[in-house]
Symmetry: C2
Subunit: 337 residues, 2 copies
DNA sequence: ACTTGGCACTCGGGCTAATCGAGTGCCAGG
DNA sequence: CCTGGCACTCGATTAGCCCGAGTGCCAAGT
């Protein structure tokens, strides 16, 4: 259906359009790439590509620009992830290695990714659902209030205030803390729900009301919007990529946690870079945006996702390379802690 | 120097320009405000105002727009903070009351402020330097690593990884934890440095190396960029306020923690709303932006600052009202925990 | 001394017309 | 199937023009 030259033409169109941001015509193509055929031939090819929906012309008598479908074909078949040079990789590594806690790792990651790709970077904290409990701490706040602190093996520290139905004494708190740590330490957070369900038996009767309050807060922490935490960086890069639809919509979308979750995608395929182009991310207001995402974490231990968001007119090979490289090192750093 | 009418004219110019975003001429002024004089008179007044530097005309034969100096006079003498209605205040209160931990309070605050003012909202977490220690926790991570968790009475939970020079055993950690909590609990974080300095004496000799590592991490946590934490929201509102200079610069500035700190201002005046107009915040790239900020926390217990950033062409009375109201309720909520 | 109406002047924004040129589609010939 | 030639389209640019909002100034009025 599409012979080699037509594919080469499509690839050339994508590459030129990405780098120039202008519709590309048949002459420019033969000039800049060494296709040794005449412009007229290219025009015929382009007519076919257009008919098949890979490219369009914004208006009669202008060059062609790729459609979402065209980018899709380009990403799937016509390009390879651009690997990073050893020097670049070393730079990434040392930049990330300086971090000294999880927040810092995530912040550095997002900054780095934004800078490398000149796009908006999005990094998800390690999912609670993929972590295990390292420690549970109960800190007295006031008469009927405790601060529950949940520390995971990925370094996340979640805090919640627990309102108790009754006042408590030091001893009962210590006991409860001991029980919690004994039973939860090392458990996957996905298992915590079932474990917690059995806990009331192990608590003295007169303390059960308070304990129940603590348990329910633990359970709440594992679901809802607290479960995932995402940060965004490099928003200023959006101004360079003049979006056809309002910049406003894009900025708004990027401020919504739930939208970001959807963008990073729920796919379980952690290892390979996924690309969503234009309307493929069914988020209103991101119709002209693409997302390049990948899971990070060690191979046997996926943690969460990270990626970049930019205009569909994006340098996919480079973006994919950057995302993959950063994910690799971030995963590595976190595995070490 | 400036009689009452001239001041009234300046006020009218600011108000009209803020609401219409168009240079305002003498005719429009007499029409929309009931100054019962002729346009010609107004023109004379405007000539004086311009000579004094309160207004300018973008080009000959256009209306006038206020200068930074004009806005300054407006804010200082010609306007009053717009109070919020009881209904609005109630809405603010209930919106914030739903929060269940510090992160949540801060997030809701920033959202609320952005929505109320339709500007970019900036909220600083309670300063560590104004908090006291509630609890210190040491969680074993690996052979030579501890997670130090520092919980303050304002609800902030700071975590840092401590690399130990030597391996440790359970007991020594428990002991160290006990010492730390005994000595630091309830102490102001500003006092912690001096307290920590005396701690080594209270630790068994053979544990001092490890203890010293922990101490130094504690001290590090109190300074540097970790001391303050700021979040930003409502960036999409920037698109509506077309900045004369690039939007890009503004977005970039808002991504820099240090810049944000400067914007909120180091002034100690916690109680009253401060306004910085245009070049007054000496941040390159925010020359056409204004900042409205105020401290929050209970009267006897200032915690940190919050505010909004917008174009100099901003509705100051309303913004100041919103900032003050939100600060009041946020401070209230936090005082309750 | 201030206010006012009148008046000439300026100049940016918006409209139209004309031109330019990049790029196309098509066709006939190799 | 490729290629050169050619007529055609249409967006972008430029130039010219007018309009009108707004000004500054001045002379007359209160």
């Amino acid at each position: 259906m599409l012979d080699d030259r037509k594919l080469a033409v499509l690839r050339a169109i994508v590459e030129d359009y990405v780098s120039t941001n202008e519709p590309v015509g048949s002459r420019a193509l033969v000039d800049r790439h060494n296709l040794d055929v005449s412009p007229a031939t290219i025009r015929n090819d382009m007519a076919v590509l257009e008919e098949q929906g890979y490219i369009v012309q914004p208006h009669t008598s202008a060059g062609r620009i790729p459609t979402d479908k065209g980018y899709r074909l380009f990403v799937d078949k016509l390009s390879a992830i651009k690997p990073f040079s050893a020097a670049e990789r070393r730079a990434i590594e040392t930049f990330l290695a300086g971090a000294y806690d999880l927040d810092d790792v995530v912040m550095r990651t997002v900054r780095l990714l934004a800078q490398l790709t000149r796009q908006v970077a999005v990094v998800q904290y390690p999912s609670l659902s993929k972590s295990s409990v390292r420690h549970v701490e109960l800190v007295p706040l006031s008469d009927r209030r405790l601060l529950l602190v949940l520390i995971t093996d990925t370094g996340r520290v979640e805090q919640r205030v627990v309102e108790l139905p009754a006042s408590y004494d030091e001893d009962s708190i210590m006991q409860l803390r001991a029980v919690l740590n004994a039973c939860l330490d090392g458990r996957k957070l996905t298992d915590v729900a079932s474990v917690v369900a059995e806990l009331p038996d192990r608590v003295e009767r007169r303390e059960r009301a308070n304990a129940a309050a603590v348990f329910s807060v633990i359970l709440e922490t594992l679901v809802g919007r607290h479960e995932e935490k995402i940060i965004v960086g490099g928003a200023s890069n959006l101004t360079a990529a003049d979006f056809s639809q309002g910049l406003r919509e894009v900025l708004e979308a990027l401020e919504e946690q739930v939208v970001l979750m959807r963008l990073l995608g729920e796919s379980d395929d952690q290892s390979s870079v996924t690309v969503r182009i234009g309307a493929e991310n069914d988020v209103l207001g991101l119709r002209t945006a693409s997302v390049v995402a990948v899971g990070y974490g060690s191979a046997d231990r996926p943690l969460a996702k990270l990626g970049v968001v930019g205009p569909t007119r994006m340098d996919y090979p480079t973006a994919m390379g950057a995302v993959r490289a950063v994910a690799r090192y971030t995963g590595q750093i976190l595995a070490e802690s």
